[in-house]
Amino acid sequence: MIVTFTLNGQEANVRVVTPASLLDVLRDQIGLRGSKSACEQGECGSCSVLLDGDVVCSCLVMAADVDGSKVATVEGMGSPDVLSGVQKAMHEAGAVQCGFCTPGIVVSATDLFRRNPDPTTDEIREALSGNICRCTGYGAIIRAFEGLAGAGL
């Protein structure tokens, strides 16, 4: 079946023939490889995307089920020339080690700051609780967003 949805503001049409995840379709059929594939069971958060404005794990979304929905991936957030507020904060705080979890963190933090521009440290930690960083670089990540809190995106 052909699935039609809005991807980063533009219409996307993909042929889906298996119960494949949105993550696999994004990476392998559409070629957007910012969302990472790791645990494939919703534990690591490296595949986080916004589905109709809510952060979800794209590995747990059936691609065929996004027909008519809006999907935003990390590729739609900022650009290499103009970083988003979240990206800039992470860049300046050195909140990146190996970088594998970074796209998911950007998506989760973008979702957080859209809903709550002035989060407390606890709120930041809770918002990122579904994103695992195996370099354990959480300290710098949290500090990056503490600095952004209240500053406006």
Binding site: T18, G42, V55, V56, C57, L60, V61, M62, S108, S129
Partner: protein
């Protein structure tokens, strides 16, 4: 592959009757798909069925997400909702999916058991109401017929005055319960429901009976209550914990939750 995207309950039920696999938040089904354990060829997505997302008073539609329950649910159910997975999982996962999967560790189950909620099952033949005691039949097994869909969870009109949820796990976020429990207390009654310590959610009925008649429990009463709960559960040793630890933790957790209800 065939995928239905109904917007009405009757269309959704018809698709299920026709053999379609229901897909709610996907947080359980897609794990099975990703690991090659399931390959549904006929799927009915339930996200667009507004009737299933309706939450009116004591009737919580099966499609209500944990995120909504964390924000607006009755105290102990909201506490449970806050421990479900992560923000990503709570945005997708639903109370109906939690029931349909019927994992022994389902975070939503102790509340449902503690307040004696019922589950509404819908098929093309109509709706039937199943008490929670008859809904869960074993590890990941329920009394749902293949052509039935969970419509809603029905809580009693009057909830116990106090109710508290707690969960023991190896970390705070993204954790499957080693033991989870809800204790409720009203004027003349205490209920204790536990998850992850038996094939299905269970009530510690002897402990309830012992504590229900005591208005102001002493230290000795609380210790006895804890001991009975530990005795009543029937946990197993698996990759997450041991039988002995779960037995101990169940008693400690139930006692702490009761103490919170007494404050």
């Amino acid at each position: 592959m065939e995928v239905h995207h109904p917007t009405t309950l009757s269309e959704a039920v018809a698709a299920v009757a026709d053999g379609a696999t229901p897909l709610a938040g996907g947080t359980d089904l897609m794990v099975e798909v990703n690991f090659g354990n399931a390959r549904p060829e006929n799927v009915v997505g339930l996200r667009r069925v507004s009737e299933l997302k309706t939450w009116e008073g004591h009737r919580i539609g099966s499609g209500v997400t944990w995120r909504r329950i964390a924000a607006d649910g009755p105290r102990a159910l909201a506490q449970a909702a806050r421990t479900v997975g992560s923000p990503q999982i709570r945005n997708a996962g639903t109370i109906g999916g939690n029931l349909a999967t019927a994992s022994p560790a389902g975070d939503g189950h102790p509340f449902i058991a503690a307040v004696d909620a019922s589950i509404e099952l819908i098929s093309t033949a109509g709706a039937r109401l199943v008490p929670w005691t008859e809904f869960f039949t074993g590890v990941k097994r329920t009394s749902m017929a293949p052509d039935e869909l969970i419509g809603a969870v029905l809580l009693p009109e009057q909830l116990p005055e106090r109710h508290e949820f707690g969960k023991v796990g190896v970390r705070n976020a993204m954790v499957i319960a080693t033991v989870c429990a809800v204790v409720t207390r009203s004027e003349d009654r205490v209920t204790v429901a536990l998850g992850s310590v038996a094939p299905t959610p269970m009530r510690a009925r002897r402990a309830e009976e012992m504590m229900s008649s005591i208005a102001n429990p002493t230290e000795a009463d609380l210790a006895e209550f804890q001991r009975i709960v530990s005795e009543e559960v029937s946990p197993i040793t698996d990759h997450r914990s041991t039988e002995q630890y779960r037995r101990h933790a169940a008693g400690v957790l139930a006692r702490r939750l009761l103490e919170r209800c007494l404050r």
